[in-house]
């Protein structure tokens, strides 16, 4: 006879429960007193230097007297807000890069409204992004600048660089999807890398919704790891419930996760159909504003950074870049974290900024 595997002593269980409930009650009480003003983000001083429609180009105040002469422009994804790169004092990629002497600009794509439903990838890449690059070039009197693309913003950076290689000195791609056909990525599968529009009928969705709601996108992300992201994470919150600072950190992250802009319908349609479903980025068939994106046109130095445990962008998807660019100077770096860990892990924040900075400075 097999031994009964659950042998929880009722008295101990009662004590456990009492402790857990106390933590939860204290946590709820703590949270009821935390105001939104306490969980602000963005620690580095910045100024808007260019605006077009809802896009804003920010310049961060340098933290050294003589910043590195070639500035870095950060292109973030459309699906979340870019302040993840400057979340809080001890979790800020931007701040760390500034401290190491880089001069940083950041594109904030804004929150598309229903009137932006017709914005295309051409508008984002050849319009807003190109304008931002030109502004930075003009401010520094340079022909070329450094581009740092993150996640979907990395895919945009690849497209932009392939179309405008003369304007980009060095390209850094961070957790960037390149091969959307990699099937061990649940997101790739659900979005249609296998069965196309039978997974997601992008045309129908845009017809029905206009813009794709941020909440819809978020629901999809939560379903990728339903227990961890909907239950386990909050059970863990009970353990830090009495530590106001840690609860604030938790809430700051929550705020970022659920601060998801709607996606401009036409741009989303093209991204889903051409990138996820037809995987055209690696076949050179993506067309942005009537021009074909050929990754082989990327002949400047490339630093490709990916996360080993990334459940949104599988490492293989990022690593594929090596096969398609024509540069002779390609560097790959990986960190043993997940997608979000790239911004918030203490170890990554210790090692990643110097890696990027040293790599760029060696290529001035």
């Amino acid at each position: 006879m097999i031994q009964f595997p659950i042998q929880i002593d009722p008295l101990q269980a009662a004590q456990e429960l009492a402790e857990l409930n106390l933590k939860i009650a204290q946590g709820v009480q703590t949270m009821s007193t935390i105001r939104d003003e306490e969980i602000q983000y963005g620690v580095s001083e910045k100024h808007a230097v260019y605006r077009e429609d809802k896009m804003v180009l920010y310049h961060f105040e340098p933290l050294v007297e003589q910043p590195f002469e070639v500035p870095v422009l950060i292109s973030y994804a459309l699906v979340n807000r870019p302040y993840m790169t400057d979340l809080q004092d001890n979790r800020s990629l931007v701040k760390n890069l500034l401290q190491l002497g880089l001069d940083i600009y950041l594109i904030d794509w804004g929150y598309p409204g229903r009137e932006d439903r017709w914005l295309t990838l051409d508008d984002y890449i050849n319009g807003y992004m190109d304008a931002a690059v030109d502004v930075v070039r003009a401010r520094h009197g340079l022909e070329q600048i450094n581009l740092l693309g993150i996640c979907q913003g990395g895919s945009f950076a690849l497209c932009y660089t392939a179309l405008n290689p003369a304007k980009v000195k060095n390209l850094v791609a961070m957790v960037t999807p390149v091969d959307f056909g990699v099937e061990d990525g649940l997101l790739n599968l659900w979005t249609g890398c296998q069965i196309g529009s039978e997974s997601v009928d992008a045309d129908l969705m845009v017809e029905a919704l206009g813009n794709i709601p941020g909440d819809f996108m978020n629901f999809g992300y939560l379903m990728l790891k339903p227990y961890q992201l909907n239950v386990q994470k909050y059970m863990g919150l009970a353990n830090i419930a009495t530590d106001r600072r840690r609860v604030q950190d938790f809430l700051r992250m929550e705020k970022w996760i659920f601060d998801s802009p709607d996606q401009a319908g036409e741009a989303w349609r093209q991204f889903i159909k051409d990138f996820y479903q037809a995987n055209k980025l690696i076949t050179g068939e993506v067309e942005i504003g009537g021009k074909q994106v050929d990754l082989a046109a990327i002949d400047m130095p490339v630093l490709n950074i990916y996360a080993d445990d990334d459940h949104l962008v599988p490492p293989a998807s990022s690593q594929a870049l090596a096969q398609y660019v024509s540069t002779d100077d390609y560097t790959e770096a990986n960190f043993p974290v997940g997608h979000i860990g790239m911004y918030v892990s203490g170890k990554v924040q210790r090692d990643l900024p110097p890696l990027i900075t040293d790599w760029l400075k060696a290529r001035k």
Binding site: I8, A13, A14, N21, A25, D123, L186, Q194, D201
Partner: protein, 405 residues
């Protein structure tokens, strides 16, 4: 506002409420755990409400999730205990544990799918026999006739009062028909044209079928999770390492849950079911919009389609404006270059009238040159070295081109 002492009181109240539930659970008795959960949840909600009334949105959401997550975990663990009890009984009767587990999983899936299958069959049958839906479409047709008759009366002027009346009656009809079956958003106000009703009926059928099919696949995911948990429990039992705390049990499930779901989520069956549900939901939304737009037009209100068209027109003009600005900037840059070039030209003595033409020609050439200069790309840069700096976690890789070399 509660004080610190209240947190302890609240926690004690929750604990007392949970105590009964857990006692039954731990002893694997025929208790009614669901009632226990409900009681505790009610208490938690009441207490939370008092605290969070003035909380900001981010904190409120997280606090609610904090309590909900415990509830979700407790429910699942109850299910797991119940499953184990079933399996243990079969094992006590001399059955092998794996067979007992398989048998339990099969029965659980069948039970969970029973309602789903019944629904799917009913919906599919209904879709194939539109007449069967007459009882559901009839009230809508009646509402349309009633509304149309009212609106066609001389002197009838659409107003918000009249609209409210239609909304109210529409909702009543909805509740009498589809609302009984589906937990879908309200239809909103509508002037009922039969073809739109039929279209709406059809997409609602498709939505219902897709929904139950999706739920069926989700059942597979849950059964898979539970099966994996039972396997883990058996392994612990065989190794003589029973679970001794609630946290251990919770951690065991946390390790198992998402990978078990993943095994189902990654399959084509799940992907297709999810896609079908998404498509059905979108079709429903479009049909709903078409339906509402008929009403909006009657009331001389702008429709979504019209607003979209207006937005498209504005967008097109924005693009044209941007292109014009770029063209203007480029033209200005060329002019500036030309002016600079002209200013730098050596001053020459005034030429006779017939010599003016060549000078103008020079200007043209300068303009072309300036134009070319402003649009040409910089000379290709020297390729960078292949060697790269590497950190501890970096590695240099040769590109495809390099390896082909």
């Amino acid at each position: 506002m509660y004080g610190n002492g209240d947190a302890a009181k609240m926690a004690q109240a929750w604990t007392d409420a949970q105590q009964q539930m857990w006692q039954g659970w731990l002893e694997l008795m025929q208790s009614t755990p669901a009632a226990g959960v409900a009681q505790w949840q009610k208490l938690a909600e009441q207490n939370m409400q008092a605290w969070l009334d003035n909380a900001d949105p981010t904190a409120r959401r997280a606090a609610e999730q904090l309590v909900n997550s415990q509830q979700a975990a407790v429910k699942f663990l109850q299910m797991a205990a119940s499953a184990w009890e079933e399996i243990a009984k079969q094992m006590a009767d001399g059955n092998e544990w794996r067979a007992a587990l398989d048998d339990y999983s099969r029965r659980m899936a069948a039970e969970m799918n029973a309602g789903v299958t019944q629904w799917a069959n009913m919906m599919q049958a209904a879709a194939q026999a539109p007449d069967a839906w007459q009882p559901y479409t009839q009230p809508w047709t009646h509402l349309w006739q009633q509304t149309a008759a009212q609106w066609q009366q001389p002197g009838f002027a659409p107003s918000f009062g009249a609209l409210g009346d239609v909304v109210s009656r529409t909702f009543d009809v909805y509740q009498q028909t589809f609302g009984r079956f589906l937990d879908t958003p309200p239809l909103g106000y509508a002037r009922e044209y039969e073809e739109k009703v039929r279209r709406l009926t059809k997409v609602m059928q498709e939505f219902a079928v897709a929904n139950v099919e999706y739920q069926a696949v989700m059942t597979d995911a849950w059964v898979n999770g539970l099966t994996k948990l039972m396997e883990a429990l058996v392994a612990r039992a065989q190794a003589g390492k029973p679970i001794r705390t609630f946290q251990e049990l919770s951690a065991e499930w946390a390790d198992i849950a998402d990978p078990a779901f993943y095994e189902v989520f990654v399959g084509e069956k799940y992907v297709r079911a999810q896609g079908k549900l998404l498509t059905a939901t979108m079709n429903y939304r479009i049909a709903q919009r078409e339906f509402v737009e008929i009403m909006a037009k009657q009331l001389d209100m702008p429709t979504r389609t019209e607003v979209d068209a207006a937005h498209k027109s504005i967008y097109t003009q924005r693009r044209e404006l941007r292109a014009l600005k770029h063209a203007l900037a480029e033209a200005n840059a060329r002019i500036a270059k030309l002016e600079t070039a002209l200013a730098e030209q050596p001053v020459v003595a005034p030429a006779p009238a017939e010599a003016v033409a060549p000078a103008a020609s020079d200007n043209g050439a300068a303009q072309k040159a300036a134009s070319k200069s402003s649009t040409s790309k910089p000379a290709p840069k020297k390729p960078s070295t292949r060697k790269s700096t590497t950190g501890r976690s970096t590695k240099s890789r040769t590109s495809k081109q390099e390896s082909e070399d």
